[in-house]
């Protein structure tokens, strides 16, 4: 063993638009950095091996698995969670559609669902239901049976496309 390897890593990154400086254990993943170190408990730790999607957050504009993203690798990264996206109103239409369509029950999967759906919606166009299903297939929901989630995402995609045309 050599002292080139560190057990604790000093990090500077941006979370929800705010500069953050902290020291994390070498094995810390992003979702624990957010929840335990920063108290941002909106993103959820579900399976912790990349399958369920409850921990999906944005890093440098792209959705990633918070549980599979090692915090020491995030120096200089720009991270957005459901808290920041909500504050800025960036997923307001998706949130309204999820409520209107009852696309959640317990809500555990919802922050991850919204981040995954945001990436699809922001890409533009009006994805088909099959494309929505394909895109959302990495996010588990154990309550709704997915139909209402697909409805909500479809509605927002259509509304935004119509808004862009008018």
């Amino acid at each position: 063993m050599t002292d080139a390897f560190r057990n604790r890593i000093d990090l500077e990154l941006t979370v929800n638009g705010e500069a953050v400086e902290l020291t994390v254990p070498a094995g810390r993943h992003l979702i624990d950095l957010l929840r335990l170190d920063l108290g941002l408990t909106g993103s959820h730790a579900g399976c912790e091996h990349g399958v369920c999607g409850a921990c999906t957050v944005l890093v440098d504009g792209a959705p990633v698995r918070g549980c599979l993203t090692l915090a020491p690798q995030l120096g200089g990264a720009d991270v957005w969670t459901i808290e920041g996206l909500t504050d800025r109103g960036l997923v307001a239409d998706l949130q309204a559609a999820f409520v209107a369509r009852n696309a959640l029950q317990c809500g555990y999967c919802t922050p991850g669902m919204l981040v995954a759906a945001k990436a699809l919606i922001d890409a533009g166009g009006t994805p088909s239901r099959a494309e929505i299903r394909e895109h959302m297939s990495g996010n588990y929901c154990r309550c709704t049976g997915y139909e209402a989630i697909v409805d909500a995402v479809e509605t927002v995609a259509r509304d935004r496309a119509e808004g862009a045309m008018s």
Binding site: F5, N7, G27, G53, C67, L68, T69, P72, Q73, S137
Partner: protein, 276 residues
């Protein structure tokens, strides 16, 4: 569970990365996108590892042309492979394969080098490398070397890589005129590992078929290839079935996997206009 790692170091350049791995005395693990490694660490399958983060090695990013070959850097993420114009033009098989891998959130971080080095038997890129007759480029304490993809994959999660080596890229012949590439897989859900899959390349009129999810490593199905070359699709399906020795598990029985592989080969042949 939480990852229990022994330490973390960010490599500044290739020489530094090689030195870090040597210093780790067998406990070193190369960390890139981390989409398999961090999952394994979280599950406690491995602990005390000394992580050597190679994501700062900019030489391992990007795609460049070397005469009639394309060199794809190990740090190219699946999402990059799916959209890179040089890959789309010269190695469409990889561009077709990338969207089949896991989900967007994972494709945004997982790398092609990581996929090849991890050598999951159900993974798409290792099978593509075999079908394309690609070469894997490695750097270690003794310098650079190249290993043919057909020799690289030894067993489940086992490759020809030696202790202290880093996979730096994959070298793929550019498509020739008339070359065709197809990859098809059967999975229960979009993004799941394939229960069975086939990557097919037709180059110079000759077929190359690599099966994945059907054995410990991607398998080049040589007899089925000869049958397809002769225009005998049913013979190729039968030869494929003989060649495969798939596992039975919760995803499917060996017989079901063999059957699926045959169905996929029929579909691919139809798509290529050969099933007459």
């Amino acid at each position: 569970m939480k990852a229990q790692v022994g330490g973390y170091a960010r490599a500044e350049d290739m020489a530094h990365a090689i030195r870090l791995l040597a210093d780790a005395e067998g406990m070193g693990r190369v960390l890139a996108g981390g989409q398999s490694l961090v999952a394994a660490l979280n599950m406690g399958l491995s602990f005390g590892d000394l992580l050597v983060d190679i994501t700062g090695l900019s030489d391992l990013r990007g795609v460049r042309e070397e005469d009639d070959r394309l060199v794809i850097g190990a740090l190219m993420r699946h999402a990059d492979v799916a959209t890179d114009p040089l890959i789309a033009r010269h190695v469409p098989l990889l561009a077709q394969a990338a969207p089949l891998i896991a989900h967007e959130a994972i494709r945004n971080r997982g790398t092609i080098g990581g996929s090849l080095a991890h050598a999951d038997p159900a993974a798409e890129f290792p099978a593509c490398a075999v079908a394309l007759d690609a070469v894997i480029r490695l750097t270690g304490p003794d310098g650079e070397r190249e290993v043919a993809a057909t020799d690289f994959f030894r067993d489940v999660f086992e490759t020809e890589m030696r202790e202290g080596e880093i996979l730096t890229g994959i070298v793929v012949p550019k498509t020739q005129a008339g070359e065709r590439h197809v990859i098809r897989e059967a999975a229960r859900r979009a993004g799941d590992y394939a229960i069975a899959g086939l990557a097919v390349v037709i180059r110079g009129g000759a077929h190359r078929i690599a099966a994945f999810g059907t054995g410990p490593t991607p398998l080049l199905c040589t007899v089925a290839m000869e049958r397809l070359d002769a225009g005998d699709v049913d013979g190729a399906v039968s030869a494929l079935s003989d060649a495969l020795d798939p596992p039975s598990d919760t995803q499917g029985s060996a017989a079901y996997r063999r059957h699926l592989a045959g169905v996929l080969l029929h579909r691919i042949a139809t798509e290529l206009g050969e099933d007459v």
